[in-house]
């Protein structure tokens, strides 16, 4: 080959490599924040030259610091272990116990079920349980962790080989191990080794997920025999008790589906027991006459057959307990802790009997060809109305006992042999849970009603003082759950016969000890939303407190409380399912004089309430096509499956096609002040009230472009604004079970307590806590707050001021794959748990941003599915959880605006309208009714094509994960916003002639900055704060690559030219 050609070829090669180096460099810079998180590098650092008055607003507790003020990673991990243990112990629910539990220490036990060796601790996607963990057999028999060899796993596909493999959540562990006091059992090693061997092919992981065609992967007896044919020989030595673990996972992006189970497993539904699981239980019976079943699932597994089986001695629901939660489960088994949890969801005999199940899954419009917008062809009709979870079963039960509303008809009867029968249809009720001790409960004095009127706003509470006495032989805690029943007129507005109103928990009561627990009930939550009520001002819909007899009761769950109310109503005990005690109920006559019918027509902020979501109801567009479930006729209105809905209404079609907002071009915007000269800086805003006039001054100093950047790029990296002295910062991360940043990858390396990269425990990942239903099942507000506080502390160590969590959607049914990330089917339990979490987190400057507001009722088609429902249902179920969390009335005072500061919006729609663009949802309800003044971000990359509509709805910003380098590498005219449904072109000038949009981005900037000003980011800010760019190895690498390839390109070009000249010469 001639030299000329060689040099020419090499020049071509180097040109290519140079081009690739430049491309790689540009791409890395555009996503530098994400690259840093993935690689543990740091591209920039906030530096404050003047160290006075920084890092003194929020600090970790002294016990988590070394003497020199640096972070003590060992103490932090130990505290996480202790908290997770406590949580799991308090959340675990004892469903059945014939006296076998607690099981004495020293017992020799055998574990059955492959999940006994690979328990479900977290989700395959979403809230994973990370890092070293404590397995069940370790918790039962060991006394020191073995994190070096026990790291949680999840499945991943090897893209090189295509093989599905178990992958570790952390790259090894060479840090500390931790001592603990286990249950002190001896565990049968034969069965342990068999299941471990079998899992080499089953590939179960501690972080698992459901699927549309699910297989729980329980080995058969034959498979067990194939590993060790003489396994039964070990039974005699380890036969004090058999412990069987039944697992069902939950995870983001996948659901269980009706009938979605692999055929041939002996089960018709994915949450039903399979033949192999029944066989494992049968083996357990062979091994021991004491059989204990652990239900390791965030969803309601169909265990009715176990309840009725006399050979099953005890059943414990343990949720998905997190990395160290098995210690808490062991504490329950051995009796170190007496169970005190209550179910966060009802356990139906068959989940399909829930009316919501008639309309879950994959539904597309019959004429989907009229839809031009992506992700808009799917819907679900939530025809169950307000009757979600226990509200359906208990209300129908109530009517069945009374013989009203055709409640005993056959529609919806799955377990009943003839007409609908509560006893057959329900295995365990909501809130139900047993204990190792017994309690007497009684009202101490009359409840205290407190009705106050301040202008238009009425606040009405009833405080129930319940005296709880431990009458048993062991110490224990007891939750006090207060339920209520409002007067119902048959055929009138739908009302649940029973609903949780509030709850509290005793301290640890020693035998004979008593405690009076006050539980304050907000009477607004027993009022009913009547969307047809004429407000007299041209609007319709408000909350109605019907005058009449109201009943309140405590009880061991909703069913028990309802029975107590029915006893108080004089209903014959013989007609009830379960026990009843009239003295546990309280009734009172609420007259218009005490509480006007429209007392709650104004929200606590003084906003007049009216319908804001009329388009949520399918019948709003196409009248009479959907029948919602009604107490007036259970049998006649039990939902059918709406499988083939046809779009005929043009307004409905237009909404689905994204026609929401047109950006104006010629508005007079002179009243909106930007670029005003001023010296006020952001760091001076710390702790100021949202309404403080200084905010107006600060916002006026910003440019429209700066405000638009803040509204556009909502994290994890949030843009800076030079005019007010803020700098681009990595601020937000997941999730509800811990902050998703390793200790040694903190985003705040200047913090005195920063844990150095060479710390032996540096690669500890804080996402270790349990699934949300287990948190809720503790029915313990203080414990939820404690979790929030701890994750707040994690945020100080990881430098993350905003948390995308916790999950706050409703368990519409058991098949939602993401139930593990949400608390409960009950909005009161969910709302109060989330509120406590957020208040706790904020104590350490962490903004909790619960997700997904709202109606993320299933993962199937989650990117834009349209759930249709009544506004009553929307407000009384899903939205109530958010309302409680955002209003935070327990903590809100005149001097302290305690409401939540953060929020993530749902991927889904409400009716045909994207939640992100629903002004009713985002502004009228969230901001005006509930007084929300914080950060409200879309879900990841959601609705980029609706820029004008999203930013004018009340949403404060987009989740633009991955993007960074704002104003330079990433700008407002990013191609990612190039395809607008309205044809607009996004740039810094797009809102120049749109007054509403300008005002909206200004308000967004206000909200985002106010939230941040409440956060621990303010630890780092003063007048001297600036960003220092740092080099990273990957930056050095691509700089070097560009330099070298450029030089070589030039060299070979020159050599080529010289060679050519030489040839010519």
């Amino acid at each position: 080959m001639k030299k000329t050609n060689i040099f020419r070829g090499l020049a071509a090669l180097m040109t290519f490599l140079l081009s690739i180096s430049v491309i790689v460099g540009n791409t890395l810079e555009s996503f530098s924040s994400t690259i840093d998180t993935a690689l543990g590098t740091q591209s920039e650092m906030m530096v404050t030259d003047d160290q006075d008055a920084v890092y003194n607003r929020f600090t970790p507790p002294a016990e988590l610091l070394n003497e020199d003020g640096t972070g003590n990673s060992h103490a932090l991990i130990q505290a996480a272990i202790d908290l997770n243990r406590k949580q799991a112990a308090e959340g675990t629910v004892l469903l059945k116990n014939n006296g076998v539990l607690p099981l004495s220490t020293g017992a020799s036990v055998t574990l059955f079920g492959i999940r006994s060796q690979v328990p479900i601790l977290g989700s395959s996607f979403g809230v994973k349980a990370f890092g070293g963990f404590i397995n069940l057999d370790e918790a039962l028999q060991n006394n020191i962790t073995d994190f070096a060899h026990h790291i949680t796993t999840s499945l991943s596909q090897n893209w090189a080989t295509g093989q599905v493999e178990r992958g570790y959540t952390t790259d090894g562990w060479s840090g500390d191990e931790f001592e603990f006091d286990g249950a002190g059992y001896k565990v049968n090693p034969t069965m342990t080794s068999i299941y471990q061997k079998l899992n080499e092919t089953y590939l179960h992981t501690e972080n698992a997920g459901p699927s549309e065609e699910y297989d729980p992967g329980e080995p058969s007896v034959k498979e067990i025999e194939s590993v060790n044919a003489s396994y039964k020989d070990s039974f005699a030595q380890y036969g004090d008790a058999s412990i069987v673990v039944i697992g069902r996972p939950s995870a983001e992006s996948e659901d269980y589906l009706p009938g979605g189970i692999v055929s041939g497993l002996g089960a018709e539904e994915p949450l039903a027991l399979t033949t192999n699981e029944r066989d494992a239980i049968a083996l357990a019976k062979e091994c021991s006459d004491k059989v204990i079943v652990l239900v390791n699932s965030a969803s309601a597994v169909e265990i009715g057959e176990l309840k009725d089986n006399p050979d099953i001695d005890a059943i414990l629901w343990i949720g998905a307990p997190g990395s160290y939660g098995m210690l808490g489960v062991a504490d329950i088994l051995v009796g170190k802790t007496s169970p005190s949890g209550g179910l966060a969801d009802i356990f139906a005999t068959y989940n399909m009997s829930a009316p919501a199940m008639q309309n879950m899954g994959n539904f597309s419009y019959k004429n989907a060809d009229v839809i031009t917008r992506e992700n808009s062809s799917n819907y679900i009709i939530e025809a169950e109305g307000i009757y979600v979870g226990y509200r359906y079963y208990e209300t129908r039960y109530f009517d069945a006992v009374l013989g009203e509303g055709n409640a005993t008809g056959t529609a919806g009867a799955y377990a009943s042999t003839s007409g609908w029968d509560y006893d057959k249809e329900v295995a365990y009720g909501f809130g139900y849970g047993l204990s190792y001790t017994t309690f007497d409960m009684e009202y101490e004095g009359e409840p205290v009603f407190n009705v106050k009127k301040d202008g238009d706003v009425t606040t009405a509470t009833a405080t129930f003082n319940v005296k709880v006495t431990n009458t048993g032989n062991v110490a224990g805690k007891k939750s006090v759950q207060i339920y209520g029943q409002a007067p119902y007129e048959r055929g009138g507005i739908e009302k649940s016969a029973i609903q949780l109103l509030n709850y509290a928990k005793t301290d640890l009561l020693q035998p004979g000890e008593s405690q009076t627990v006050p539980v304050e009930v907000d009477l607004q939550y027993i009022a009913t939303y009547d969307s047809s009520f004429d407000n007299g001002d041209g609007t319709f819909g408000t909350y109605i407190a019907d005058p009449g007899t109201y009943y309140f009761a405590f009880g061991n769950g909703a069913h028990d409380a309802l029975n107590n109310i029915m006893a108080a109503q004089g209903i014959d005990a013989g007609s009830l399912v379960g026990e009843s005690n009239a003295s546990y109920a309280y009734s009172t006559e609420i007259t218009e004089d005490l509480l006007s019918r429209t007392a709650f027509a104004f929200s606590k902020t003084g906003t007049k309430i009216s319908n804001q979501l009329p388009y949520a109801d399918w019948n709003y567009f196409q009248e009479g096509e959907v029948t919602y479930l009604s107490r007036a006729d259970w049998n006649g209105t039990y939902p059918k499956s709406y499988t083939d809905m046809e779009l005929t209404n043009q307004e409905l079609i237009d909404y689905l096609n994204g026609k929401y907002y047109t950006i104006a071009t010629d508005d007079d915007t002179s009243d909106i002040v930007w670029d005003k000269e001023g010296d006020l800086m952001f760091y001076e805003m710390a702790g100021l009230d949202f309404a403080d006039e200084k905010w107006e001054e600060l916002l006026s100093e910003m440019s429209l472009e700066e405000a638009q950047y803040l509204a556009t790029f909502g994290g994890p990296s949030i843009p800076g604004a030079t005019s007010i002295g803020t700098v681009e910062t990595y601020m937000t991360e997941n999730a509800g079970n811990g902050v998703a940043v390793n200790l040694n990858a903190s985003k705040d390396t200047e913090a005195p307590w920063n844990i150095k990269s060479d710390d032996p425990n540096g690669n500890w990942h804080p996402e270790v806590f349990e699934s949300s239903p287990l948190t809720a099942a503790a029915f313990n507000p203080d414990l939820a707050k404690e979790l929030g506080e701890f994750i707040g502390i994690e945020s100080l160590f990881t430098g993350i001021p905003i948390l995308w969590g916790p999950g706050l959607n409703t368990h519409r049914h058991a098949y939602n794959g993401r139930n593990g990330e949400y608390y409960s089917e009950d909005p009161i339990l969910s709302g109060y748990t989330a509120m406590e979490f957020a208040i706790g987190a904020l104590e350490y400057g962490l903004i909790a941003a619960p997700k997904h507001y709202a109606f993320n009722d299933q993962e199937t088609n989650r990117a834009g599915v349209a759930p249709f429902m009544t506004e009553q249902r929307a407000r009384e179920v899903e939205l109530r959880a958010y309302q409680i969390a955002f209003e935070a009335t327990k903590y809100d005072t005149e001097d302290n605006n305690a409401g939540m500061r953060g929020l993530m919006i749902s991927f889904s729609k409400i009716g045909p309208v994207e939640c992100t663009v629903s002004t009713g949802l985002m502004t009228e309800i969230l901001k005006k009714e509930w007084g929300f003044t914080g950060y409200a971000v879309t879900d990841i990359y959601d609705d980029f094509d609706l820029y004008g509509a999203v930013l004018t709805s009340g949403a404060t910003c987009y989740d633009t994960r991955g993007m960074s380098g704002f104003y330079t590498d990433t700008t407002l005219d990013s191609p990612r916003f190039a395809n607008q449904a309205d044809g607009s072109s996004i740039s810094a000038k797009v809102f120049a002639g749109d007054a509403r949009a300008q005002q909206a981005v200004r308000e967004s900037a206000h909200n985002v900055l106010f939230a941040i000003a409440s956060s621990n980011l303010m630890n780092r800010y003063n007048a001297t704060t600036h960003v220092v760019k740092l080099n990273t190895w990957w930056r050095t690498a691509y700089y070097t690559a560009i330099g070298c390839t450029a030089l070589l390109t030039a060299l070979f070009v020159v050599l080529f030219i010289l060679s050519r000249k030489k040839k010519e010469a």
Partner: protein, 148 residues
């Protein structure tokens, strides 16, 4: 035309193949950009320019070689620029699709529409990349036949 073709040697054939690949990449990019509104390529204009100019330069390199002979400076410059253009087109597609790809391999793995777009995107990116490699190989060889 036949005379023109007779003059061509291996390098030119590589360049012609590269030009075709550039057009294939352009067409694939257009297809993936127009499969759905959501996944339109916001920088399709830039991608199209790079791909088209890259293909034209690759062909120009062939033509210039027939005029000025093997390893002429103008033809070589066209070839180098063609490589840069194809690489730039590749980079622009990648940059625009990286969020989609990240989503598909994590939180959005069930996005069937996204996967369809992804597969066509891979075709576009592969065409540009292979086009670059073909041009590089061709650069090591003669573009026109030389007299023995």
């Amino acid at each position: 035309m036949a005379e023109f073709m007779k003059k061509l040697s291996v390098g030119s054939y590589f360049n012609i193949v590269a030009a075709i690949l550039g057009i294939v990449g352009l067409i694939a990019a257009l297809i993936c950009s127009n499969m759905t509104l959501t996944y339109q390529l916001g920088n399709m204009g830039t991608i199209g320019c790079f791909a088209f100019v890259g293909a034209v330069l690759a062909l120009a390199s062939v033509y210039l070689a027939t005029v000025f002979g093997n390893a002429d400076i103008a033809g070589t410059a066209a070839l180098l620029l063609s490589i840069a253009c194809f690489a730039a087109a590749f980079g622009n597609v990648l940059s625009e699709r990286i969020l989609l790809i990240a989503g598909l391999f994590s939180y959005d793995s069930v996005n069937t529409v996204g996967w369809k777009v992804f597969y066509v995107t891979v075709v576009a990116m592969a065409a540009f990349l292979v086009g670059c490699l073909v041009l590089i190989i061709g650069a090591f060889t003669n573009s026109v036949k030389t007299a023995e």
